[in-house]
Symmetry: C2
Subunit: 122 residues, 2 copies
């Protein structure tokens, strides 16, 4: 039911962890399942995302989309990162079953929350 | 929101993996969130569970309850293992938030399915 890319990012998630003194942090909850996602961003003076880490209690779909989303925003500017949609992340994963689409939204929402947190501080 | 024991079993899950040529396998799905759980049992001639492994795409609550449930049934007889309830697993974890109780049922159902699979073969 899951694509090879989803299984790869689920079994070997990229960028799991925390960043000390991050430029921005975003924490969001999933009302449908009660799961939580947190994303940490390290952004340099040129507004380039140098590092990004995530932690989640969510399911495999949440882990895989967050892993892919962090890969897609790393090295991008803040403005470019705002343009990385959930649709782009799901396409990069070769899709997700419809029942898991709500899980994939956690990553996009947490990245936006972390970018917002950064913007408020700068 | 989660107990220390839940976080410990989520971050360091016990008995993750597969068993080759298992005595019994149980696979169950969670209709509410679309997640899947599979449990493998290795049972000896005295009907004692020598080894147990699990795999899941489920969330942290599913991982933690499966980890604890496999610890509780390991070394037990088939009959004793049938008596390990979801309630006992949750108590051993110092509880779960109400919204995550349905996730914890995956482990109990998968163990019962694996014991049933074993019974059918013997
Ligand atoms: S079921 Fe909660 S994040 Fe997928």
């Amino acid at each position: 039911a899951y694509s090879e890319k989803v299984m790869d990012h689920f079994e070997h998630p990229r960028n799991v962890g925390e960043i000390e003194n991050p430029s921005g942090v975003g924490t969001v909850g999933n009302a449908k399942c009660g799961d939580i996602m947190r994303i940490y961003l390290d952004i340099d003076d040129n507004q380039v995302i140098q590092d990004v880490k995530f932690k989640t209690f969510g399911c495999g779909a949440a882990v895989a989309t967050s892993s892919m989303a962090t890969e897609l925003v790393k090295g991008k500017t803040v403005e470019e990162a705002l343009g990385v949609t959930n649709k782009a992340v799901m396409e990069a994963l070769d899709g997700l079953p419809p029942v898991k689409v709500h899980c994939s939204l956690l990553a996009e929402e947490a990245i936006h929350a972390a970018l917002w947190d950064y913007a408020e501080k700068h």
